[in-house]
């Protein structure tokens, strides 16, 4: 068990599926305690779940943290990109660490398998997207192991049932945020991202394919690295599997991964929602473990 002093109190803003699943995961974590679950609708399914688990709830949203600033050290923002900008303007002044689940791109992009340590410097980190969490580690390896990476492409297929109204309406933001993340972490010149919703019943698991065009592909080295990377990711996303290890097909590098969810609040087929939440919890736990270390910078944008 963790030392009592290293437990961080976390608040969750947003009581939809993402927020509620984060609450279940935070309650299980030995490093985190969920001290507030705040949204707008006291009768939502998430609020009912929080009530049933004895977590303090509020319908006042971010104001509930302003009224009781000591209630938490860290805030997960699982609302929307627009709301996040407003929330950050308030939470920054209160000195809170914020893990942003929205595609706002305000904070430093965080992929735990790549930059967990360096993210500790920042008080606002962004969890990119579900497809980003699945694919960027592999894209990063392709960038590390090759001199010149011209182009990386990522295709994710997810179960139609796992794509809620917010995912659907924000499909462009998903594509563009993930494309940016791939470029940042792999150093490739161009990137392209596609998201495919598949309505098959029973629902499919999330599957992500990374394609790359590089000058001199080193499949052998990439293979070993990919297997190792998958193992690292499994430490925080247990349902992450490398199903087609790197191969060269038609002059393109192909890597395929599948992500099954933990089935905490959301069903197992919602691997897309699980992976981003698992990544966020991994980041929050890292803050907890380092909670008395070096001072934390105000914002990613000020670096």
């Amino acid at each position: 068990m963790a030392d009592k002093k290293t437990i961080l109190n976390v608040a969750i803003l947003g009581t939809g599926n993402i927020g509620t699943d984060l609450m279940v995961k935070a309650l299980r974590s030995p490093f985190l305690d969920c001290t507030l679950f705040a949204g707008r609708n006291l009768t939502s399914a998430g609020m009912t779940k929080a009530n049933s688990l004895g977590v303090r709830v509020s319908a006042l949203g971010v104001e509930s943290i302003m009224k009781d600033p000591d209630c938490c050290d860290l805030v997960f923002d699982a609302t929307s990109a627009i709301d996040h900008k407003y929330h950050w303007s308030l939470l920054e002044k209160m000195g809170k660490i914020v893990i942003d689940m929205t595609p706002s791109r305000v904070g430093e992009m965080c992929i735990p398998a790549i930059n967990l340590d360096s993210c500790l410097k920042y008080k606002n980190v962004n969890m990119v997207t579900c497809g980003g969490q699945a694919s960027i580690p592999m894209a990063h390896l392709i960038g590390l192991l090759h001199q010149e990476v011209d182009y990386i492409e990522v295709i994710s297929s997810i179960a139609s049932r796992s794509a809620g109204p917010a995912t659907r309406i924000n499909i462009d933001e998903y594509v563009e945020t993930t494309e940016e993340g791939i470029k940042i972490f792999s150093g490739c010149k161009r990137s392209k991202v596609m998201l495919i919703l598949n309505p098959a019943h029973p629902p499919i698991d999330m599957q992500t394919t990374v394609f790359a065009k590089v000058k001199k592909p080193d499949i052998q080295k990439l293979n070993a690295a990919a297997v190792d990377m998958a193992r690292q990711i499994q430490a925080y996303v247990p349902g992450y599997q490398l199903i087609v290890p790197p191969v060269l097909e038609n002059k393109r590098i192909v890597i395929m991964v599948k992500i099954q969810g933990l089935g905490d609040y959301l069903p197992k087929f919602a691997g897309n929602l699980d992976i981003i939440n698992c990544a966020a919890i991994a980041m929050a736990e890292e803050y907890a473990k380092n909670s008395r270390s070096a001072p934390i910078r105000a914002s990613a944008k000020n670096k």
């Binding site: 182009y151 492409e153 295709i155 297929s157 139609s160 109204p165 659907r168 309406i169 499909i171 462009d172 594509v175 563009e176 392209k192 596609m194 998201l195 495919i196 919703l197 598949n198 309505p199 098959a200 499919i204 599957q207 394919t209 394609f211 790359a212 065009k213 199903i243 087609v244 191969v247 097909e249 038609n250 393109r252 192909v254 395929m256």
Partner: protein
């Protein structure tokens, strides 16, 4: 009274699949000019899966979207310039804004037939720019008619001028077309259209069934140039429609000339119904997968027919070309035998 059928010609767009998206500048320029002269109302251009779809997944285009649109725009004077986009692949910022600025007249916003809500922002965006926009329900064989009506209704509410059913796998038979189009026509206040593929030799039959059921927009391509076994052959479709008493406004002789010209200039081979196309239709898989399935099956030493049916069993939709590799790897590991 003669009723008018609006013909849209995606020869350059759907046919792009047939040549792995390798159409060159000269081909696009000469075809668009000739189609314009033949009085074809709408000429659709671009990558087979629409703007922004040039990719390792689906196939890289020889020319980028901007170049293609520029050439087509220069050569289309009377005909309208059309494009196809799929949300999840093309975005408003990257692709639709560019198409608007380059003078595209007609937009088709497409999605898998059960997922119309992902088209809301794209259709609304085009609508608010005052352009013609149509919703497209791809792979319509995968949903019952009541579901298609619900999805089409969403597109209508987003502001679409019409909704088209695409038989992307060439899997439909006339009775399917009849019941689906009839219900759509009855339930919607906007135009209904049909886009056929010829995998089962039914492209013309399905197209005229659609018209008889009340559709007013049809897609056809010269020589049927398109994915898989190709589309409804335009130089056949137009005279058949005229014979049935519909008017299209297309110049018949010039259309015949256009089709001869296109066969010479665009096609390595004229599309025909190959065993592979029949399997893809029976498996209910997107016709555009054809070249990938053939290549990958050969590379992994598996029977392409097994690949088609395994993809069908997994209910793979358009845009999931990557799964072909996974399926081939799996079948190869099992000794090349399907289920």
């Amino acid at each position: 009274m003669i009723s008018n059928i609006l013909i849209s010609d995606p020869t350059l767009r759907d046919g792009s699949h047939a040549v792995s998206h390798q159409l060159n500048a000269h081909q696009i320029a000469s075809y668009t000019a000739a189609a314009d002269a033949a009085g074809i109302p709408i000429v659709e251009v671009g990558h087979g899966n629409g703007l922004g779809a040039s990719s390792l997944q689906i196939g890289e285009s020889l020319l980028d979207d901007t170049t293609i649109l520029k050439i087509a725009r220069e050569n289309l004077i009377h005909s309208k310039l059309g494009i196809h986009v799929m949300p999840g692949i093309a975005t408003i910022n990257k692709d639709l804004k560019k198409a608007l600025s380059m003078g595209v007249d007609v937009f088709r916003v497409a999605c898998h037939c059960t997922e119309a809500d992902i088209t809301q922002r794209h259709i609304s965006f085009i609508r608010n720019k005052g352009k013609e926009v149509y919703g497209v329900l791809m792979m319509n064989h995968m949903a019952p008619k009541d579901v298609l009506v619900e999805e089409a209704y969403k597109m209508q509410s987003y502001g679409a001028d019409g909704v088209l059913l695409y038989d992307s796998a060439g899997a439909s038979i006339p009775s399917d077309v009849k019941e689906k189009i009839e219900l759509l026509v009855k339930s919607l206040e906007i135009q209904v259209g049909y886009h056929a593929h010829n995998n089962l030799g039914l492209a013309i039959a399905n197209s005229i069934t659609a018209v008889q059921a009340g559709a007013t927009i049809l897609d056809g391509t010269v020589r049927g140039f398109g994915a898989g076994a190709g589309n409804a052959q335009l130089e056949v479709l137009v005279p058949v429609l005229e014979k049935m008493g519909y008017s299209t406004g297309v110049d018949f002789y010039k259309l015949l000339d256009l089709s001869d010209f296109a066969e010479r200039e665009l096609m390595k081979v004229v599309p025909s119904i190959k065993p592979d196309s029949v399997c893809s239709a029976l498996a209910g898989i997107f016709s555009g997968f054809s070249k990938h399935v053939q290549r990958i099956s050969k590379e992994y030493g598996v029977d392409s027919r097994d690949v088609w049916f395994e993809l069908g069993r997994r209910k793979i939709v358009a845009g999931q070309e990557d799964i072909i590799i996974e399926v081939a790897v799996k079948l190869a590991a099992e000794g090349g035998k399907g289920q």
